[in-house]
């Protein structure tokens, strides 16, 4: 057991060099999501009652497919950053916290890749 204080351990090691990175990219993705989310919500509302063929045609329109991929990637990235903060705030115990953080990362990447693959499959078919 060390008799040094936590501050003594950390002193002299230098910073982790990413102090504000998480904060900053969460804001950048938030700003990007303002127009993307409004576009997505009102587009989907207009698709109410549309047939499979109509929705398929809509997604395969290049501008729609590209914007959908941007929305999915940005939303899942923003979500991953947000969930990370919630886990760090509320999950006590290093083992549980690490497990939750890993599961959250895997979940977000998997959902993003699956959703983007589906858009591309429709758009390129």
């Amino acid at each position: 057991m060390s008799l040094r204080s936590p501050l003594g351990h950390a002193r002299g090691l230098g910073s982790a060099k990413d102090g504000t990175h998480h904060f900053w990219v969460q804001r950048v993705s938030a700003i990007a999501l303002v127009p993307l989310t409004l576009w997505f919500v009102f587009s989907v509302a207009r698709l109410h009652g549309a047939s499979f063929e109509q929705v398929h045609w809509w997604v395969s329109y290049p501008a729609v497919a590209v914007t959908l991929v941007l929305f999915i990637a940005t939303a899942l990235y923003h979500s991953m950053l947000g969930v990370q903060v919630v886990i760090e705030d509320y999950v006590g115990g290093e083992g549980m916290k690490l497990t939750a953080l890993l599961l959250s990362k895997f979940f977000h990447v998997a959902v993003a890749v699956a959703a983007i693959f589906a858009v591309l499959k429709v758009a390129l078919s």
Partner: protein
């Protein structure tokens, strides 16, 4: 949460969690926790979006099986909650962005923007559903 305790290290006092016996519920703190709750809900809600696109990419049969559930009463209620959570998180997120650049920090301003978020997210949700059902 009960008496706040640090998970490790010396037993220093911590600021209590905003929900509990320590603070009176206020508009500002309620909107704050709602931002987090809607954020977490939306994280899981991405499964709904991914499921829709995957069903679409798997052909008409998969798409009809999926949309049957979405168009059922429970699917529509889920979608209503999903749309409101998304629009609330969007509006309150914009409020946070103004705070991030140092604007609107006074107590009256924080309350005004708080009521605006509640009203605008409600109006937008109604507008989206009106667009879906009335056009």
């Amino acid at each position: 949460m009960s008496t706040p305790k640090p998970s490790s290290g010396p037993n220093r006092p911590l600021s209590p969690f905003m929900i509990g016996p320590y603070y009176k519920p206020q508009l500002t703190s309620m909107l704050s926790i709602t931002h987090r709750v809607t954020g977490m809900a939306l994280s899981f809600g991405t499964l709904l979006l991914a499921g829709w696109l995957i069903a679409l990419s798997n052909g008409p049969d998969a798409y009809h099986a999926y949309s049957k559930h979405v168009m059922a009463w429970y699917g529509q209620i889920l979608l209503l909650g999903w749309s409101w959570a998304l629009l609330y998180h969007l509006c309150n997120g914009i409020r946070h962005l103004f705070w991030d650049v140092g604007k609107g920090f006074s107590l009256p301003a924080a309350y005004r923007s708080g009521y605006a978020v509640v009203a605008i997210s409600g109006v937008l949700t109604v507008a989206v559903w009106a667009l879906a059902y009335l056009t």
